[in-house]
Symmetry: C2
Subunit: 144 residues, 2 copies
């Protein structure tokens, strides 16, 4: 969260810290949700921060490569992004009817189980796992 942290991260990746990038990160810190590129763009516009849509896309991509954000997909045709929090991940409950999404922080049992599972898969398939995503689909409170 502190600006100094971002500065260090950008320096490490040999990227410049620009006002657009800072503004985009602020949106995520305030909203703390999964946001689409368009939503980030609109949010910035609403705050009188004029950042072109192409720049939004470019930076969401960059921040994802840097590991600061990660991409999630709920099946509605657009990519969403959210802040990466380690070691606690966000898992998602997606409503098949209204499309609403509940983010929940991984339960402790889950972290432990998945950690063991990753080791197993690592040896079984010789695949070095770096991250995971889990989606549950069904009916939310309102739609069930």
């Amino acid at each position: 969260m502190p600006k100094r942290e971002w500065d260090r991260a950008f320096a490490y990746f040999k990227k410049k810290m620009t006002s657009s990038r800072q503004a985009i990160m602020e949106v995520f810190e305030e909203e703390k949700k999964h946001l689409s590129a368009e939503e980030v763009y609109d949010s910035l516009k609403g705050k009188n921060q004029k950042v072109g849509i192409a720049t939004v896309y470019r930076n969401l991509d960059l921040l994802t490569q840097m590991g600061i954000l990660h991409r999630v997909y709920f099946g509605d045709g657009l990519e969403h992004y959210e802040i990466t929090r380690k070691p606690i991940h966000h898992h998602h409950l997606v409503c098949n009817k209204c499309g609403s999404v509940i983010d929940y922080s991984e339960l402790i049992e889950e972290s432990e189980f998945i950690s063991k599972l990753e080791q197993e898969l690592n040896t079984r398939y010789n695949f070095k796992i770096e991250s995971h995503q889990m989606y549950f689909y069904g009916l939310c409170k309102k739609c069930r």
Copy 2:
């Protein structure tokens, strides 16, 4: 797999069994992989089954709603489809470098764990879970 099964399924959903639909299902039975709409279209063309691309999309969608196929997304910008197998699901290992995907059948420990987890989430969030998807991202054998 037997044609009779599809007939029953389509009758149940009050849908007609057409040659396109049958041809599409045959592609999935032969290839037994996650396929994009374009891949299904090409596969049919290769077999001299002329099915329009719009029809492919329409039917992939229909078959998904019917629960015969399900959609998976690997972050490459296009949706893929694969045959639904219950109670054993396919989970996926996606390579961050080359984009290749390994499908593996859920391990027994996984099924058991997820089943318990779903009950827990059901009561905790009052969300009726119908299915789940799990993706692991990392580096495959060749890229690690």
